[in-house]
């Protein structure tokens, strides 16, 4: 039982009126309920953890952080309302949303209000809309997919790919980008199978993938669906290799997929399993606080808060414009801010650049096989 | 005497059961025709077939010499044929006056005129006249649901005459009405018949009521007409007595 959740809610309830005006206001506006509540929940808990840690250490510029949570229900109409509510509360920064659609409907408002927003959305076009206050926490699909395409071409020497993707903005966006990159490397698309988020019976989908018999099966979906797809694939004896991005290799997928997940490989943009001291420690703290294993959204929320902390301390004052200006073209390393977990840079569109990993699942563990350098280097 | 309504070999069977078995009769201009018969003799089914509520298995129905077999009730009604049902059917959620206006509104103007025109479709005076005629005027603004059974029965009948029909088919108008109401109902019907020259067909169980009201009577048994004639003749007909008393 998530008693912790209950306690947290109560405490926020009691604290909210008590919170002194001097506090630094952070707002999380994201998907606490609705179709992608899992990712939203992870992101939120990452944020909560970071805020609690910082407050324990005395907050930002000696001021406590007051965090308020807003639920978009994964519904743009609600998202817009909640974002407005958050803006009315005049926060220093806003974290979220994760659902790219919700980012899109709210970014204009934030631009007008000149409030920096640290988003979780990964849809490619978000950084191309000229929002000077938008910053990613993990890189957009237009950065991830080329790396994967290279991997498929160079490491796997594949000529054809059978693709199964989840039909939401995340899955569709990734699919479109991947197809673009594959054709650019003249790798053929043997099958293009869309699936529903929350789908359970993948028998039909796997039959289609099988019929394509391609050199590589690319699985691009949410963790649970990835797990189910893998189970069905193994069941029907669909031969791999199975390649995917972050989600397919995530801890959750492995946990749910069991043996079926073994042997899948691919690219991991950001992972709680990165072989780095800071990340491992974070994972432990997170698990202790919320008693479940964070996925990459947990890291996104967490590192986002610390990035803001670092920049603000550097500025020495609460200055939204300054924050946004400084973050453009900034690089933060774990040395100067452990909370950033992995060295991270932002270009001046708010797009992010990090090292990323090629990994493989071996014996129910994610094993990093190769560390890919930042694109910028 | 010209026939307003001609019914020819009308048949209606449900699965195996034949409810109406080749019934033919005329209804003449201005008369009050009574139809009697034991329960289940097919009286109401006959009505429903004539009025398009049920599609007859065979046979023809003519109104003023025009074939109207199987025509939709609402169209038939607009041709001047109205009816009441065996079970009382007014609109309890509408006021008494509105019940009457409803009964008349579809007979004038176009769909559009009913949308943009006056909300009473210019029928309020007529409705009030009808109410006064049926001695219901003091209840005009009450909800029909709030009236006594007898009053509702009167209203039900009043609605049937609101559009000034050429022909009215009344299914047990006297059913469950107390004696005093009964006389007033009978007077009203006779009056309308006399004043508006409206033609009636009345299904009724209450013999005294029928005998007093009708000029001619059909007797129905097991879906067939077994006797026909003026009240006195029918009352004394052996087959009728048998049909009612059974073997």
């Amino acid at each position: 039982m998530r008693l912790s959740r209950f306690v947290l809610a109560l405490s926020t309830l009691m604290l909210m009126p008590a919170a002194a005006a001097a506090d630094v206001k952070f707002a999380y506006v994201g998907e606490i309920s609705g179709s992608i509540a899992v990712s939203g929940g992870n992101f939120r808990d990452g944020v909560i953890l970071a805020v609690e840690e910082l407050n324990a250490k005395g907050g930002i510029l000696k001021q406590k952080i007051e965090l308020t949570l807003y639920d978009t229900q994964t519904n743009p109409g609600v998202a817009r309302a909640q974002m407005q509510k958050a803006i009315d509360g005049d926060p220093y920064v806003i974290l979220g949303p994760i659902f790219s659609g919700n980012v899109k409907v709210t970014m204009q408002m934030l631009q007008q209000a000149e409030i920096p927003h640290i988003i979780g959305g990964e849809a490619a076009e978000l950084t191309s809309l000229g929002d000077a206050y938008l910053f990613r926490t993990s890189f957009g699909q237009q950065i991830g997919m080329p790396k994967i395409a290279n991997f498929i071409r160079d490491e796997l020497k594949a000529k054809t790919v059978a693709l199964i993707w989840v039909n939401n903005d995340f899955g569709k966006g990734g699919r479109d980008k991947l197809i673009k990159e594959l054709t650019a490397r003249n790798i053929k698309l043997a099958a293009d199978v869309s699936s529903e988020s929350g789908q359970v019976d993948f028998a039909a989908d796997v039959v289609k993938l099988k019929a394509a018999n391609a050199d590589v099966v690319f699985v691009y979906s949410n963790e649970e669906e990835c797990a189910r797809i893998m189970r069905e694939a193994r069941k029907q004896g669909l031969k791999g290799p199975f390649v995917g991005d972050t989600t397919l290799l995530s801890q959750k997928t492995i946990e749910l997929g069991g043996d079926a997940a073994n042997g899948v490989m691919g690219h991991v943009g950001l992972t709680a399993d990165a072989p780095l001291k800071e990340v491992e420690e974070f994972k432990a703290r997170f698990q202790k606080r919320f008693n479940y294993v964070p996925d990459h959204n947990g890291l996104k929320g967490y590192s986002g808060v610390y990035a803001v902390r670092y920049v603000t301390e550097k500025l020495g004052k609460l200055d939204r414009k300054g924050l946004a200006k400084m973050m453009h073209g900034l690089t933060i390393t774990p040395k100067d801010e452990p909370g950033i977990l992995i060295e991270t840079s932002w270009d001046n569109t708010g797009e992010i650049d990090r090292i990323s990993f090629l990994a493989e699942v071996v014996g129910g563990k994610q094993k990093i096989t190769k560390i890919l350098p930042k694109v910028g280097k | 005497m010209s026939a307003v309504l001609e019914v020819r070999d009308l048949r209606k069977s449900f699965g195996g059961i034949v409810a109406v078995d080749g019934v033919s009769f005329d209804v003449n201009q201005g008369e009050i025709l009574g139809i009697i018969g034991p329960n289940g003799s097919g009286k109401s089914t006959l009505f429903n077939c004539i009025l398009g509520q049920l599609r007859p298995s065979a046979g023809r129905v003519h109104l003023d010499g025009r074939a109207v077999t199987g025509m939709r009730p609402c169209d038939l009604n607009r041709l001047g044929v109205s009816r009441t049902f065996q079970l009382l059917q007014v609109f309890p959620q509408l006021s008494v006056r509105d019940n009457l206006i409803l009964a008349g509104q579809e007979h004038r103007g176009s769909m559009l005129s009913r949308l943009v025109g006056p909300r009473d479709a210019g029928l309020a005076p007529a409705a009030d006249k009808m109410l006064a005629f049926f001695r219901l005027d003091h209840l005009a603004d009450e909800l029909a649901g709030g009236l006594s059974y007898g009053q509702q029965k009167l209203l039900d009948a009043a609605m049937a005459f609101m559009a000034g029909p050429r022909l009215a088919l009344l299914d047990e108008p006297a059913g469950g009405v107390n004696p005093t109401m009964l006389t007033s109902l009978r007077d009203r019907l006779k009056a309308i018949n006399a004043e508006q020259g409206a033609t009636f067909v009345v299904i009724e169980h209450n013999m005294d009521f029928v005998m007093a009201l009708c000029s001619r009577i059909l007797v129905l048994a097991e879906g067939r007409i077994i006797a026909e004639g003026d009240p006195a003749h029918v009352r004394s007909d052996a087959k009728v007595i048998e049909a009612y008393l059974g073997h």
């Binding site: 019976d201 028998a203 019929a211 479940y292 | -």
Partner: protein, 293 residues
């Protein structure tokens, strides 16, 4: 090719079995109390969590937890649902109750999400998670078990309804409460029974699917819709119809996905539904509902 078809067919049947279990509940409740339960999907989602709570929170062994879970389900989703929600609204037409069940669905989903989290939880399987291969088509033993049990359950229910006195009383109640009452059938009790049976069925469904679905607060959403469609296709007033509708739907859905379109996989069942309603409203196996106007 043939293997594929067999594969799809059996997989479809297995999923269909689940739809059937949930669908029967619909038909039962509709027949006896004109209740359209929009929370039926959530009814299937919840019992698994009762079991998980039993195991996680009270540390019971699996089978004990299962027994407790089923008992709790019958108590809450059967008895309490009837007494606290349905009874007060019974005489106010279908709609208020529909709205209330919509509310109930939200309540169940949100409660689970809040206290158990939004992510999916593994659930111990009733059968070994192994596969058997027949004619080149591989079947999970689990889904075969699911199929078997659901068909058995329906058969048992049919038997109960036709062969036992209580069962016949229930059918009488379903067909015409007034007459049943005249015949001295304890109508109230019969209606209660149908609610208890419904609860038992959804609990069973929950135990069968959750190992495959994984325990998650959203499990009910699609399932509810499918069970709904299955119930109508099969015949909204026929228990037998529900199983046919369910299986048909499962298979139809799979073949649509492969041979027509995955993006529109729901379309064929829906169109089928519309056709059925327009041309055979009583459903494939249903009786014509004789309602006196």
């Amino acid at each position: 090719m043939l293997a594929d078809i067999l594969q799809l067919f059996v997989a479809g049947l297995a999923t269909g079995g689940i739809y059937a279990l949930a669908a029967i509940g619909f038909t039962l409740l509709w027949q006896t109390s004109q209740t359209i339960n929009f929370a039926q999907g959530e009814f299937v989602m919840l019992p698994a969590f009762f079991v998980l709570i039993g195991m996680g929170f009270f540390g019971l062994p699996f089978w004990a937890a299962v027994l407790v879970g089923v008992a709790v389900s019958i108590l809450t989703l059967g008895l309490m649902f009837k007494k606290l929600m349905v009874d007060p609204m019974l005489h106010h037409g279908v709609l208020p109750l529909v709205i209330a069940t919509i509310g109930l669905a939200i309540l169940m989903k949100e409660t689970v999400r809040e206290f158990y989290g939004a992510d999916a939880w593994p659930f111990p399987p009733l059968a070994a998670a192994t596969n058997v291969t027949v004619f080149g088509a591989a079947f999970a033993v689990q889904s075969l078990v699911v199929l078997g049990i659901s068909i058995a359950a329906v058969a048992a229910l049919q038997l109960f309804l036709n062969k036992t006195r209580t069962g016949r009383c229930m059918q009488a109640t379903a067909q015409n409460p007034t007459v049943a009452r005249l015949l001295g059938v304890p109508v109230e009790r019969m209606i209660l029974y149908t609610f208890l049976i419904n609860a038992a069925l959804v609990a069973l469904a929950s135990l069968l699917i959750t190992p495959i679905y994984l325990a998650k607060f959203t499990n009910g959403e699609l399932l509810g819709l499918y069970a709904f469609i299955a119930a109508i296709i099969g015949g909204f007033n026929q228990v037998r119809g529900a199983i046919v509708g369910g299986l048909l739907l499962g298979v139809l859905d799979n073949f649509t996905a492969v041979y027509i379109s995955t993006q529109y996989r729901l379309v064929v069942p829906l169109l089928f539904l519309i056709v059925i309603i327009l041309f055979r409203p009583q459903g494939l196996l249903g009786r014509v509902e004789e309602r006196t106007v």
